[in-house]
């Protein structure tokens, strides 16, 4: 067979003129009818949200419907503890050093009281970590100083040695020393000697300044009256990627922001939080939440958990969520032991804190209207468009989603910078929903044939771009209907083209 072919090719070399092959035109006049499925999809809501496993959860309602909820939890975003409850302020104490005394005695001892100023509280005992600093001035000679707390640590005492040079400061750190506080003061004994045993001083009187800083409380015993604490401003990042994919104006019917509290103190608290949503490029949206009363931890428990739900009845949450903020910013005040209802002497430890967290739950029960610019198709790259003689676009859908979609196809001419033709068509008819529950009760099938007229095909041929816009709208949107998306909502869509092409 191949030999025959080769022979024939050779023969043809001699016979070209006989058949006048040079006169044969390359193009073959051909008019063909085509039916071509372009795109299709068959999806459920579960499919669409399959990648959002850390932000989406499904739950069944009383009727067995598997509903969808966007959620985000963080139960310990912020806390307030001992250092916030008991804001300790300690003024420095000056200790005079009469150098002449060293001519007689090598050791000079001075009793001092370090004042502990603690707002809204009366403290008898505390455990703290701290830095003890000492500086000297007008010193006639370097000193060796020991600061002793004789009553510290249950009578075991505590001493901290320093070498003090004139106009210099020395510091010592200590951790978890238990001190008795009497009348708001801590007693200490300062022992001073010259560093090198010098004598023969004149009447010079030096001065030592003793301060306590970087105080961290780990235990407090005492009582407290109403105590207002300022909450540092911070923010909760609302990483709802899935929300960013919800286009246009959306109004969720029943979003919830749950404030999560854990209180390990025996005091009630009143949380007056300022919270607002940070929206990129737009004004912030205030949550306008009322103060939240937090119960005290019962004596027989280590802590108490308390959740407070902010929703459309007690806050501006619907508007806040509809704006899809990137962050939820918080600040405000926490009033501990309001109206001083607890005047008992109590003991608090470092882990006795009030934790504040949050949980956002947004059920997919919403109204939506959105315009989406889906795509711009470069017609210059689609050769077959030039050969199109007839065309019908067919949209088949079987929609169980509670929204409808309209498409707008614009034939854009680059030369005249104008839209030559606009074709509007119904891509999807929204599924029928129960007016009370908003749940889909019946899928809706539709077939929309768009027959392009000769004039439209001509305009399509001279257009450079095909711009596709889609408008989405939930079922019964104009009636104010909020619709519920269920995991099992499904839709089938198929787009086909039928036409006639000529390859001229």
């Amino acid at each position: 067979m191949w030999i025959s072919l080769l022979v024939m090719v050779s023969l043809v070399g001699c016979m070209g003129d006989e058949f006048e092959t040079d006169r044969i035109v390359d193009d073959i006049d051909l008019t063909a009818g085509i039916a071509l499925p372009l795109v299709n999809t068959s999806l459920t809501m579960g499919d669409i949200l399959s990648d959002e496993t850390d932000q989406v959860k499904y739950y069944k309602d009383a009727d067995g419907n598997e509903r969808i909820m966007f959620y985000q939890y963080n139960d310990s975003v912020e806390y307030v503890g001992l250092d916030d409850f008991f804001r300790v302020s300690i003024d420095p104490v000056d200790v005079p050093v009469p150098f002449i005394g060293f001519n007689v005695e090598p050791l000079l001892e001075v009793n001092i009281d370090i004042p502990f100023d603690i707002s809204d509280a009366t403290i008898s005992k505390l455990e703290l970590s701290y830095d003890l600093t000492m500086s000297g001035s007008s010193l006639a000679a370097p000193l060796a100083v020991t600061v002793a707390f004789p009553t510290a640590n249950g009578g075991a005492g505590k001493e901290l040695p320093f070498e003090i040079y004139n106009n210099q400061t020395a510091s010592q750190s200590a951790t978890k020393d238990m001190f008795e506080i009497v009348d708001g003061k801590l007693s200490a004994l300062v022992k001073v000697r010259t560093l090198n045993g010098e004598t023969g001083f004149g009447s010079t009187i030096g001065s030592l300044s003793l301060g306590m800083s970087n105080v961290k409380l780990s235990y407090v015993k005492g009582s407290m009256v109403e105590n207002a604490i300022t909450l540092d401003e911070g923010n909760y990042p609302l990483d709802f990627d899935v929300l960013e994919e919800v286009p246009g104006d959306v109004e969720f019917n029943d979003p919830k922001l749950t404030m999560l509290f854990t209180n390990a103190t025996p005091f009630k608290a009143l949380v007056a939080a300022d919270m607002w949503g940070e929206v990129e490029g737009e004004n912030n949206v205030n949550l306008n939440a009322l103060p939240i009363e937090l119960p005290a931890c019962p004596a027989n428990q280590n802590s108490i958990n308390y959740n407070y739900i902010l929703d459309k009845t007690n806050s501006n949450l619907i508007e806040l969520v509809s704006k899809k903020p990137q962050n939820l910013v918080y600040g405000g005040r926490l009033v501990l032991n309001p109206e001083s209802t607890n005047t008992d002497e109590i003991e608090l430890y470092g882990e006795d804190r009030i934790y504040i967290g949050y949980g956002v739950e947004i059920p997919l029960d919403l109204r939506l209207t959105a315009n989406i610019e889906v795509d711009t198709i470069d017609l210059a790259e689609l050769d077959f468009v030039e050969n199109l003689e007839k065309a019908t676009l067919i949209f088949n859908s079987d929609n169980g989603f509670p929204f409808e979609a309209m498409a707008s196809l614009e034939f854009y001419d680059e030369d005249t910078k104008s839209v030559l033709e606009t074709i509007n068509l119904a891509l999807l008819k929204g599924a029928l929903v129960n007016e009370t529950t908003g749940i889909v009760k019946e899928k809706v099938q539709s077939v929309d044939n768009v027959v392009l007229s000769d004039e439209q095909i001509e305009k399509l041929n001279i257009s450079e771009e095909l711009r596709v816009r889609i408008h989405l709208q939930t079922s019964n949107y104009d009636d104010g209907q909020s619709v519920v998306f269920l995991k099992g909502n499904e839709m089938d869509i198929k787009l086909s083209i039928k036409g006639k092409v000529n390859n001229k």
């Binding site: 025959s4 043809v12 058949f19 009818g33 499925p37 999806l43 990648d51 198929k494 787009l495 036409g499």
Partner: protein, 451 residues
């Protein structure tokens, strides 16, 4: 490109048809005419065909269309050009069309008379190839949808059929007059198959549904015997097929592909000067055992458009949709193979002849031949006028009605001198004079010593 295109067209008409040889049949005194009817007794005493050149036959046919059916003068702006006219080409085609080839080379041949019996011995290498292609293939040019009537155009290639065979035959023939008017003949053949390929079935169809979705069905099977290298994937499916690099020609021609065949014929002098004959040729089989393969594929592939579900859900993988689709398509029609033996026929023929000796130098004849391609009957008829002005010269002129070609003029000539006989014949003289309209090509020639 055009040269190749023309070559393909010419190939269509120059490959060899199974039948024809009709002008050759009426040549006087040519011993090879016994291959058409073993009861013929063209030689009085004995003959020897010159090795390799005693009988050479090449037949070709493309019954569907000729060059001029496909390439025609343009009109309008293309008036001075030639255009490919698919509509005209299709209008010339029949529902089923034959692309056929046959070649035969007589390696050795001799015969002699022993008593009343004439015995002949032949060794021939023969090749036959047939492709049946339906006119419906041309409907592919209409696409898959009749837009004006809004109905689908479905395509079926079930009538596509390919069969080709190459074998060597060692034949022992004898003709014997059972009385003064009837001669019977038979030729028994031992066959050695060289190569074979055949489509057992080719049920391939493209169906378009009302919504434009397309479905491609395939249930195809090919059998073949030829030294091939077949490669497989890990699941045992065939990934590539090619000819073996080093083919042992000796092994190819002396393989285990053996079989038997028989030709049977009879002539009857009905009345004085009028003889009719009938013959069935190439009845038999070859049992193919060497280098055999059966390739088969069965699947249905549905195309509903680009599935954008993964794009919507964000689950699209690294592989593009089109790559995945192509992979699915290949997987749907994966080819399996078996290596078992199989048996085939020889593409037999049947002919009826009539010969009237009007004058001693003039005879009139007719032949009707029939053969089958994929169970489809293909007949042809030839009328002949033979003139033999002397023993040294015999000639014949024929007019044949062939499939989709109602007018074929042929001629044959035999020259004989001192026992050396040169003959040549063709059924398709018009092919020589006007190749652009040719659908058939046929030539038969050879040199014998005849006593």
């Amino acid at each position: 490109m055009k040269q190749l295109y023309i070559a393909m067209l010419l190939l269509c008409v120059s490959v060899v048809a199974n039948s024809q040889d009709n002008a050759f049949m009426f040549l006087r005194g040519v011993p090879q005419t016994t291959q058409i009817n073993p009861a013929f007794r063209p030689v009085d005493h004995a003959y020897l065909a010159l090795p390799a050149i005693g009988g050479v036959k090449i037949n070709g046919a493309n019954t569907g269309f000729s060059w001029s059916d496909a390439i025609r003068s343009g009109s309008g702006l293309q008036a001075d050009s030639l255009v490919v006219d698919l509509d005209n080409l299709a209008s010339k085609m029949q529902d089923n069309n034959l692309l056929a080839a046959e070649a035969s080379l007589q390696i050795l041949g001799f015969g002699f008379k022993a008593g009343k019996t004439f015995i002949s011995v032949d060794i021939n290498n023969r090749m036959k190839a047939k492709v049946n292609y339906p006119k419906s293939l041309m409907d592919l040019r209409y696409g898959n949808w009749d837009y004006d009537r809004d109905v689908p155009i479905n395509h079926s290639m079930a009538d596509l059929f390919v069969n080709s065979i190459n074998y060597t035959e060692i034949a022992l023939g004898a003709s014997y007059p059972i009385n003064e008017t009837i001669v019977v003949g038979a030729r028994v053949k031992y066959l050695m198959g060289v190569a074979h390929a055949e489509s057992e079935r080719f049920n391939v169809g493209i169906e378009t549904l009302a919504d434009g979705s397309m479905r491609i069905n395939s249930d195809a099977s090919f059998i073949a015997s030829f030294p091939m290298s077949v490669e497989y994937d890990e699941e045992g499916y065939v990934t590539s097929v090619g000819a073996e690099d080093d083919i042992d020609v000796k092994e190819l021609f002396l393989s285990n592909n053996t079989g038997f065949g028989i030709d049977l014929g009879v002539t009857w002098e009905v009345i004085d000067k009028l003889t009719i004959g009938a013959a069935v040729n190439d009845i038999g089989f070859i049992n193919w055992k060497s280098n055999t393969q059966q390739f088969y594929s069965n699947g249905t592939f549905d195309y509903n458009g680009m599935d954008v579900s993964d794009e919507i859900t964000g689950d699209e993988g690294e592989e593009s949709y089109w790559d995945t689709l192509a992979e699915d398509f290949e997987n749907t029609f994966k080819v399996k193979n078996n290596e078992g033996s199989y048996k085939t026929g020889l593409m037999g023929t049947f002919n009826v002849t009539a010969d009237y000796q009007a004058k001693h130098w003039l005879n009139l004849g007719a032949v009707s031949k029939s053969y089958f391609v994929d169970d489809k009957w293909i007949p042809e008829t030839t009328f002949a006028v033979g003139m033999s002005p002397g023993k040294a010269l015999s000639s014949v002129f024929t007019y044949s009605l062939m499939k989709n070609a109602p007018a074929n003029f042929g001629a044959g000539l035999v020259l004989k001198a001192a026992g050396l006989q040169l003959y040549m014949a063709t059924d398709n003289l018009n092919t020589v004079f006007k190749p652009s309209t040719a659908k058939y090509v046929n030539a038969r020639l050879g040199i014998n010593f005849v006593i």
